[in-house]
Symmetry: C2
Subunit: 494 residues, 2 copies
């Protein structure tokens, strides 16, 4: 299905001038505003290049004398629509977030795994009408194979589990932090790529597994300063729906499809939902009963409706009882309307939501005991969740909880004149061999510049290599927080 | 250029049976050998699913009663050709390697960055005949735009630097560890995707920058146990070639193209190289002179050939002098034949090689002072290197230096009967709140099984939750290395 072409109109972006250098001698291209803007970069004389300068020259003109290519290309300096660059400040934040994902996963004794970001399209094609399928970022490769950038991690995990077969010792507790793609309209906290933290437990049929997964997400929230008054989990079970459908003799095959329709209940008008359910061959009576059950918000009420004997009620009761023992009761609530948008869930489903109701679901997961057989493997009970990097960052912004993560460097080492550049290199090597981080100043710069840089990189101390000290095998040290200054033999630097 | 179709023939792979479940009642599909193989997974009764079992049943039959989909798909359980899964044991090794990349980069005060793995194709299209261009993993997306999985990181870095413009404080010292793609024949240590560690210095025209980059790679090698007798760096400068071409009045525009031809000198017969150079409009005399200069292996000899005045010789002399001060002289050697296969290099180029000569280049880099202007930006002096994850792992295997990196977990917590599952959850939570890692046994399992699992995950101690101890608020602890056993109040667990 082709995407809406209107999505593809580009924002006005910084398109740089196109000129064929080989013709530029006779017809020099006029510098665009971009060129002017960038002139500030060229802080050393040797980088002030001029594309018309073909004269043989010394060091200062050397840049223009070796063309790497014979033409200038017109490029868009922005990343492709819906994707992101991570300059250092954004990368520090991403690392901060991902480190919490990893540390929590390891605290729960999960092992990290990864899969190809490019998979066979067939792995993601399901027939249940999921949003995720319509948004598949798919291509034909140079070998005419249908491939797709993964929209989620779970099918790859299932593929690997089937492939590894007997060699795996169950249960598996696996986590991954991987990039996922979807080709869709972009809104707040929704791009064409995002990173997703997944934790999955393969081989445990008991609800203890779901309880453990939710515990790990709660642990993550607490670590980053999110409380139970900021975020909650809506929990239900697909067995609730299944028990209703069974009463009306709805064929099992329709189950996934019905779940996908129900999942849209907050996005579409109720009449639209009913229409879709009718076209899925549900009777009006069944639809009314289904919608009534979906509005139930307490387990006691659900038990009244469905009776205490079924698995839906008993699974949920067990989960709520375990939540108390794990210590996160205040975080979770029963809500029959939660079904999640992936066709493969079969039991408990849950999603994390912000209590102010401003954002989309923060995370979601559930049990998917039958996914492996849809790929031709033997089923193994399994459950897991996906937790994106986009909505949580929106929430942290809302709550003022984005941390300040600056660069941290132990030393900045600077030669006081060009002849001492080698000496400064020796000092840097000595410190690095002791495990210390060193920003080595690679050019001859005024001290004012060096102090400015030291402040920007949060250097702990400045080490100056001057000729009179160096003759004695010493350097000058300035502790940049206390202001203390002293000279010391290089070998005694700690 | 379409890939050779013969590359695309699949190995015989594990293709699983295709059956439409809706028809399986009347015509059950025969289990393939794969099914038999996988039966061993189903260690708990509730996972022995049977797709023909539609009877209402209790927990043990529950899996078969909720179909997530209405059909079984035939999937290839292997990752797409030329790509890799990372099961836990491989992921641990990958993390070990990447952590060294990151720690070394940070020790040199480089900041981490990242870019989209999917970029506009135009960013990678250069006209110089590079291998990397012919191997571009490119597609048309759903919006009919030409996109490509990045074959390298440097063009994205250049794009971001142009985009950020004035807001950046030079010099930048940036590193990245990112996945790169190429559509090509696969050989040892060469797949269709690999991860590449890049370090780049933007804004420093002096050779100190290249010297610093090589120092960081040497530091990395030392950390992982590789010595100067295992690995060396061949170093040259593209200015050597340029000075020769200048003598023969070869136009600057041909420079990149000539470098790409020269880079193939060890892969193609010399006559083929000469033919390609002739078709690039070089005279026979120029070709002979070029090939003679390329065979030079000492700086003194080079100085004889080119004279001492040019930049080629003085840059290289400065680099070798700095290498001594950095302390890695024994790692580097001059070799005029090194030019590297990317069109954009303009000055010093280097590559890391195994001294036994068994493997392809381990890493490579150089100065690319003119890359930004090829994209329409203002040039800034820059240099960097790329270091793949494939060849280094081959080398570590050759040298027996692959580390054993097992899972490490502090505690394994197990309830001695099902009723105590909640109590075990409480114990796990208490330990995790103290920052400890806990593998919580989620099912009722025999002790023998628990000890086996504890050994596999390298648990430091086993905590058993039994009813008589739990009544007193205590648990049993077994230190798994010393064998020591004791009972302790839960709150006193450290």
């Amino acid at each position: 299905m082709p995407a809406n072409p209107s999505l593809l109109v580009r924002h006005p972006t910084l398109l740089l001038t196109l000129s064929l250098r080989r013709f530029s001698l006779s017809s020099p291209s006029r510098p665009s505003p971009t060129f002017t803007l960038l002139t500030a970069y060229c802080c050393s004389s040797s980088s002030t290049a001029n594309s018309n300068d073909n004269a043989r020259s010394g060091r200062s003109g050397s840049l223009s004398s070796i063309p790497a290519h014979d033409f200038v290309q017109k490029i868009d300096v922005n990343p492709p629509k819906g994707t992101r660059d991570f300059p250092p400040e954004d990368m520090r934040l991403r690392n901060w977030l991902f480190n919490h994902f990893r540390e929590v996963s390891q605290m729960f004794a999960f092992e990290e795994v990864d899969f190809p970001v490019l998979e066979s399209e067939a792995l993601f094609i399901r027939k249940a009408g999921e949003e995720i399928r319509d948004q598949l970022y798919c291509f034909e490769d140079r070998g005419n194979r249908r491939v797709a950038l993964r929209p989620e991690l779970t099918p790859s995990l299932a593929r690997l589990v089937i492939q590894k077969g007997k060699s795996l010792s169950l249960p598996l507790k696996w986590f991954a932090v991987g990039q996922c793609w979807r080709y869709e309209r972009m809104t707040r906290g929704r791009r064409r790529e995002h990173y997703q933290w997944n934790m999955d437990i393969i081989g445990v049929p008991d609800v203890t597994a779901e309880a453990e997964l939710i515990s790990s997400i709660v642990t993550f929230f607490k670590r980053i300063g999110i409380t139970a008054s900021d975020v909650g989990f809506k929990v239900s079970s697909r067995k609730v729906l299944q028990e209703v459908l069974r009463c009306y003799s709805i064929p099992n095959e329709l189950f996934g499809k019905v779940c996908i329709i129900i999942d849209k209940i907050e996005k579409l008008p109720i009449d639209e939902i009913k229409k879709e359910l009718r076209s899925a061959e549900l009777s009006d009576e069944a639809i009314e009963e289904l919608l009534q059950v979906l509005s139930v918000k307490s387990l006691a009420k659900l038990e009244e409706k469905l009776g205490a004997a079924g698995e839906a009620v008993s699974d949920l009761q067990q989960l709520f009882s375990l939540a108390e023992k794990f210590g996160y009761s205040e975080w979770i609530q029963f809500d029959a309307s939660v079904v999640r948008g992936l066709a493969y869930y079969t039991g408990i489903v849950f999603e994390g939501f912000d209590r102010e109701g401003k954002l989309r679901a923060i995370c979601g997961g559930g049990r998917y005991d039958r996914l492996l057989s849809t790929f031709g493997g033997e089923d193994i009970p399994a459950c897991g969740f996906g937790f994106g990097d986009a909505v949580i960052l929106e929430l942290l912004k809302e709550k003022g909880l984005i941390p300040e993560v600056g660069q941290q460097v132990e030393n900045i080492v600077c030669a006081l004149d060009t002849d001492l550049q080698g000496a400064a290199a020796s000092v840097a090597t000595i410190l690095r061999e002791k495990g210390q981080s060193v920003d080595l100043v690679l050019e001859n710069k005024p001290l004012k510049w060096v102090f400015k840089r030291a402040a920007r990189i949060n250097a702990r101390r400045l080490i100056l290599v001057g000729s009179s000290e160096w003759e004695k095998g010493e350097v000058s040290v300035k502790n940049l927080s206390s202001g203390e200054q002293y000279q010391i033999e290089v070998d005694r630097l700690e």
